[in-house]
Amino acid sequence: MDAKEIIARRVAQELRDRTLVNLGIGLPTLVARYVPEGMLVAFQSENGIIGFGARPPEGMEDPNLTDAGGGFISALPGAFAFDSATSFALIRGGHMDMTVLGGLQVDARGRLANWMVPGKMVAGMGGAMDLVAGARRVVVAMQHAAKGEAKIVPELTLPPTSARPVSLVVTDLAVIEPTPQGLVLRERAPGVAVEEILAATTAPLTVPDTVPEMSL
């Protein structure tokens, strides 16, 4: 199982029946592959649809039906299409049960940075700031470290996406929960030792007596 699959499978365990969920572009999108059997999750794509399905076969794509990354999708029975004001009314208004977002950094207070690296890369926040401000649960899905550099840090060095702390961080090494007392290590990836996680994390990390392995 590669890093991305570990992350996507573990995040999928956070899904709950009959909820509305937004998956960010990139890694978070993979979560949709691992919805537990028999569970009904409504996925929103913030460009304007709830209830979308897989990419249609070659030649059967609709140019007016794409996900937020611009990829072709299909519509499931009972889908709902809407404009951008409605899209973010759903997000900001507390109707979004969970969002899964990629991350560049998370700090000891649980704050997320994911939209720019000053002087290097400006992507723009897209819908991320609204999602972090409005979704009931915010799950960050990201690699634990980038090219040897820690992404879970004492204090953000990149511009924050929101002042609000995220609910959970899932990486290829660990599951970490931001709490008012700081970050707590909740789970280890299969075969990963606590020491390895601590070595790859520069933020202070509370380690409970038992840190179970992810059950994927």
Binding site: A79, F80, A85, G94
Partner: protein, 220 residues
């Protein structure tokens, strides 16, 4: 998608509205109001409701029925002129009336559903509506800061529903219904017709099923 819903009887729906609750009720002079649930609330003898809606209908119509039956202790509406009973009860101190300009009412409900902390409107500046409200000047023009409205329960009328509770509305029966669908903790929709999932095209759905907590059965 949320799973398929079992449709409730109007009586079961009315039982979900606790006495003393704040209740949004769709409709404009009764058009687009959930008539069967309103009748069931009257039959149950609901008490102490705060009703948010466009108007208090007529004595025999829409929200007016609840006013006449003594179910209501307060209304937040734009108009009571078509229901003399509301005015009589107001004068007698039996019911509190908060009047809100219709467009402001729509925006306040929308703000409640959209997670906005408020909106700035020019409507009501320099009138009694401005009393006690913050006035903000933006680019040289004065606006009232109007706060969001939310409710415990929203009672909607719709035209079609599917069994996910995706809803469509019809002509002028739409009015406040789609706004209220977003602004309450419990959302109960009373359809004229229920259709299988997939029958309503995605572009024709106006309220998605994920917002609706309960569906009332179609009329017999």
């Amino acid at each position: 998608m949320s799973t398929q819903r079992k449709a409730l009887t109007p009586e079961q729906a009315a039982a979900l509205v606790p006495d003393g609750a704040t209740v949004m009720i769709g409709g404009f002079l009764g058009v687009g109001s959930p008539r069967r649930v309103i009748d069931a609330l009257v039959a149950r003898g609901a008490k102490g409701l705060t009703v948010i809606g466009n108007d208090t209908g007529r004595p025999e119509l829409g929200i007016g029925k609840l006013v006449v039956a003594g179910c209501v202790s307060k209304v937040i509406v734009s108009h009571i002129g078509t229901n003399p009973v509301t005015q009589q009860k107001m004068m007698a101190g039996e019911i509190a009336v908060e009047l809100v300009p219709q467009g402001t009412l729509a925006e306040r409900i929308r703000a409640g559903g959209a997670g906005l902390g408020g909106i700035l409107t020019p409507t009501g500046v320099g009138t009694t509506v401005a009393e006690g409200k913050q006035v903000l000047t933006v680019d040289g023009r004065d606006y009232l800061l109007e706060k969001p409205l939310r409710a415990d329960v929203a009672l909607l009328h719709c035209y079609e529903a599917d069994y996910y509770a995706n809803l469509t509305y019809r002509l002028t029966a739409q009015n406040f219904n789609p706004l209220m669908a977003m602004a309450a903790d419990t959302v109960i929709a009373e359809p004229d017709e229920v259709v299988p999932i997939g029958v309503i095209p995605p572009d024709h759905v106006r309220t998605p099923g994920i917002l609706v907590t309960h569906l009332v059965e179609r009329p017999h």
